[in-house]
Amino acid sequence: MASDTLTSSTRTDAQISGLDALEIAGRDKEVSRGARIWAGTWPKLAALAIAIAAWQLVVWSGWKPPYSLPGPLEVGRELVGQAQGPQLWEGLLTTLRRAAVGYVFSVAVGLLLGLAVARSTVLRAAIGSMITALQTMPSIAWFPLAILLFELSEKAIFFVVVLGAAPSIANGVISGVDYVPPLLLRAGRNLGARGLNLYRYVIAPAALPAIVAGLKQGWAFSWRSLMAGELIVVGISQTSLGAQLTYSRELSDAPWLLSTMIVILVLGLVVDAAFGAADKAIRRRWGVLDQAGQ
């Protein structure tokens, strides 16, 4: 059977390293960090400049009186003014605290629910489609019920935020587990990963991209639900960003209203960028990032 000397091994070694070098040559592209950041930034800056210019043009056209549509300069001044007072920061803090509490709770519920449904065929048959149905329900439609149940309180907001976010997160987990390539499962089992180890070594990391996508979508839902809730459930002593929007409208303080909207927009963008970065890091590790596009 096994004979003593096989193919002249030095020749094979040279062939192997030669072939390896040829095959992976030219795959590493070096682009300086500064150039990369600039390439991603300037289109955004240009778009922002165009948007502000368009806004200013509409104001100058006299389409609406300045007390209902102030120009960017006035709103910018208001924003700077707000940033120097305590009110904006208190509102920001209240809103962020609610967002964090609601979101963290949604993540816990969503992950557990998703894992349970992914594992159990009975649970899947029972509530699998219900989770998707919950997702299609506009969060604002929950508020009447929430207010009946919890009155005009933080609990009502919390209730709606969790109902908005948890199903998305659960769905992310379910599809992540469902789409683990069967080949990887077979490989994992053959390497000795059974039971919990199969989850730890194969299923969880393989499902990670879908889970992150679910987390991101869950955040978008919870953020929208929260804003809707803060607009509707005003009158609680604390002044949230949503409440400030309502007050500024009631006082017809257009610059205040617009500057608050800008704060909300920027906040949403920042969190979205964080999720985007996490998603990109995962895709880069997995090698599924389109190299030409980046």
Binding site: M1, A2, S3, T5, L6, T7, S9, T12, D13, Q15, I16, S17, L19, D20, E23, I24, R27, L183, L184, R186, A187, G188, R189, N190, L191, G192, A193, N197, Y201, V202, P205, A206, L208, I282, R285, W286, G287, V288
Partner: protein, 259 residues
């Protein structure tokens, strides 16, 4: 029907299949994939299973690997070994580096970190990838990935290697080199190999014994010792002669289904 996994009686058998049957589905839709396959692989023997589509080659490997249960018959592995299984795809974990991929079976066996590191370095050197440990699978070529998969399977420290068309997706030159590599590793480590392929030349290049399976249901219809001295070359006349003979029988078998 009964199925059991036992240790072979004699010490001269690494893998023992006795009357192994596999049925998929039930009732009228039942498909007989394997019909009474009996086969012994001796320790250190390289056996190639050849057959046309639908002969249940992959099913057979899954059964031996314990990933599926036979409907009937017995499968025995020397010392109750857990055989290593390789696929046509490398099936590497894309979220792990090359090193970490090879480390997985060592971790699962609870080896201490220092020993794991040593073993990983040794295994990567064995497949000539000593410098590529920090790369991710997607940064490597197809042949390199398949070598990582081989290193990862060897990390199981198993005497039995099951290979399911492992070089089927590679170009001819890379495949030639991997044949040399596999032959070297097989002889150095005294492995028993059960190698599935539809490439008859590849079988003649590698095998001590070629076994031909019929299609639907899978039955052993031909078995031949290959006594060409090693090292062999895939383009040598001896290999070509054996390949021609097996191909002829394979054609007859495939033709039987066209009637």
């Amino acid at each position: 029907m009964t199925s059991t996994t036992t240790t072979p009686q004699s010490t001269t058998t690494a893998v023992a299949l006795a009357g192994v049957t596999k049925v998929y589905g039930r009732g009228a839709n039942a498909v007989l994939a394997l019909d009474g396959v009996s086969l012994d692989v001796a320790p250190g023997e390289f056996v190639c299973l050849v057959g046309a589509s639908g002969c249940g080659k992959s099913t057979l490997l899954n059964l031996v690997a314990g990933l599926d249960r036979p409907s009937g018959g017995q499968i025995g592995l020397a010392g109750g070994a857990n055989p290593g299984l390789m696929f046509q795809e490398p099936a590497l974990f894309p979220w792990l580096t090359v090193e970490a991929n090879v480390e997985v079976p060592l971790k699962l066996r609870g080896l201490p970190r220092a020993e794991r590191r040593e073993r990983v370095a040794e295994l990567l050197r064995t497949v000539h990838l000593g410098e590529f440990g920090r790369k991710r699978p997607h940064e490597l070529s197809g042949g390199m990935r398949q070598r990582v998969a081989l290193a990862r399977t060897l990390a199981l420290d198993t005497p039995v290697l099951l290979m399911d068309e492992p070089f089927g997706a590679l170009d001819a030159m890379t495949r030639d080199i991997l044949h040399d590599e596999l032959e070297r590793i097989w002889s150095e480590r005294k492995l028993s190999v059960l190698f599935v392929t539809h490439n008859v030349r590849e079988a003649a290049r590698l095998a001590d014994r070629i076994i031909l399976l019929s299609s639907r249901p899978g039955r052993i219809i031909y078995s031949a010792e290959v006594d060409i001295p090693r090292p062999r070359r895939i383009d040598s006349p001896e290999v070509a002669a054996i390949a021609a003979e097996v191909t002829e029988r394979l054609r007859t078998e495939v033709g039987r289904h066209g009637q």
